[in-house]
Amino acid sequence: MNNKEKYRKVFQETFEISGEQIDNAEYTVTAGWDSVGHMTLVAALEDEFDIMMDTDDIIDFSSFEVGKQILKKYDVLIDE
């Protein structure tokens, strides 16, 4: 599985969403992406990509799209 697939899989499993819902996923907008969902998502991403995210990045991780930029800081490239 490449990074893009892994990234999508995490969102799919965390929020039980698929297809376009994943591309449009956003904090407080997507069902289940509240503070509890956020913690679950971050933990799953750290596990999937074997990274440790900084607090600021955790706070800034507000959407599927924004997340891709943040992951670049950890040398995780989500290919398009």
Binding site: S35, G37, M39, T40, A43, E46, D47, I51, M52
Partner: protein, 399 residues
């Protein structure tokens, strides 16, 4: 010992193994690996989302978080004391895990007496711990979770064997446990009954936009009903500051909004309703309070007005939606009443500098936390002025 064993229910581990476990360095690598695994096991569970307290603590013990915490400590030549004996409360389901975590990170083996009360969170945590300990068998001696009834002999034995004892309240439990002596070199940390309250500026509340009022209602719910007001930092009293008429209007709006949130979220057990009425009557008689029928918001939210904020207000302890309420002119009127057992002051529309100045000027000994309403409390290695890593470990001075 053989007789006692029959009265003990083990959830994890055994006393015999744990008493012989060697102290570890603080933030030991194996402890971090174990806790990270426990975190993953908990977060894997499908319905874990229902338990915000569980998700919060599982998030806190993941590797990234633990490594970051480690970086904030001076860890050189620092080891655990040895064996910690924990007595954990019946009111906070995840407290036993918190106590275990801080003590493991400090390098200790642990015997944890859990309360008799069963919680789903407790079951989930024990299951996760079991699975993780199977993968990290070297850590097995460091975790012993057990339960027993009113058996002083067992408490006596464990108290004499331990290097430190941690007792999570209330005052009555602490008194009882203290009947079992510690050995000469063992120490004790206790967390006694605390009283918390909420203060709101009436005028500022009235002026707040409706979505702010909504957020406050949800925040207040999180602070209170979520833990059934059992958490020591749950407000039991709301004090309105300012001109009386505005405050009364504000209070009316506030409690009605709260009632709506509670009706959505809270399952009132039958018994709670009866206990509440009993508590109200008892306290009303003692405090010369007025149970104003108008301040009854369904059966979920009951508000009793007390005439004035007096120093013994912390005797007013309600659960399951019973709140006390008072109206004062300014912040100082409340602060001057603060007692040593007052812990958290949550607020809206009040300047924190003013609160701090009042605390300094009056010289009161209570209040450890001043936080906005609904401020979620992530776990921390510090609590009530104690740093667990430094308090539960020893530093070897080398020249």
């Amino acid at each position: 010992m053989i007789l006692m064993q029959q009265n003990i229910e083990y959830m994890i581990g055994s006393m015999e193994e744990t008493v012989h476990a060697k102290p570890l360095p603080v933030f030991d690598r194996n402890v971090i690996e174990l806790l990270d695994d426990v975190s993953k096991e908990i977060l894997k569970i499908r319905n874990v989302r229902e338990f915000e307290d569980l998700v919060s603590i599982a998030f806190w013990i993941r590797k990234a978080s633990l490594i970051k915490m480690k970086q904030q400590y001076e860890t050189k030549d620092r080891l655990g004391y040895g064996l910690m004996f924990h007595i954990t409360p019946s009111n906070i389901p995840v407290q036993f895990l918190y106590s275990l975590v801080v003590s493991l990170l400090a390098g200790n083996a642990n015997i944890i007496r859990m309360s008799q009360k069963e919680f789903e969170q407790g079951r989930i945590i024990c299951e996760a711990l079991r699975k993780s300990l199977e993968k990290y068998p070297s850590m097995l001696p460091y975790v012993c979770l057990l339960r027993y009834g009113h058996d002083k002999e067992i408490t006596d034995e464990l108290s004499l064997k331990c290097d430190g004892r941690i007792v999570w309240g209330g005052d009555a439990t602490i008194s009882k446990i203290r009947e079992s002596p510690l050995s000469a070199r063992a120490f004790e940390l206790t967390f006694a009954d605390r009283f918390s309250l909420c203060i709101i500026n009436g005028q500022k509340y009235l002026e707040a936009p409706s979505d702010t009022k909504e957020k406050l209602a949800h925040g207040f719910y999180t602070d209170t009903f979520f833990s059934d007001q059992n958490a020591c930092n749950s407000p039991r009293m709301v004090v309105w500051i300012g001109e009386k008429e505005s405050c009364r209007n504000a209070a009316e709006i506030f409690w009605n909004l709260e009632k709506e949130v509670v009706e959505q979220k809270y399952a009132l057990e039958q018994i709670s309703g009866v206990n509440k009425l009993l508590q109200e009557c008892t306290i009303a008689i003692e405090m010369d309070a007025k149970r104003d029928r108008k301040n009854s918001y369904g059966n979920y939210v009951n508000v009793v007005n007390v005439g004035e904020v007096s120093p013994n207000i912390s005797d007013c302890k309600g659960n399951g939606g019973l709140f006390f309420q008072a109206f004062v002119e300014n912040v100082r009127d409340i602060i001057k009443c603060v007692q040593k057992d007052w812990q958290t002051l949550s607020y809206y529309g009040v300047c924190t500098t003013e609160i701090l100045c009042a605390i300094r000027e009056t010289g009161v000994k209570g209040i450890d936390r001043i936080v906005p309403i609904g401020q979620s409390m992530p776990p921390s290695l510090q609590w009530e002025g104690i740093d667990f890593i430094y308090s539960l470990s020893r530093h070897i001075h080398v020249l």
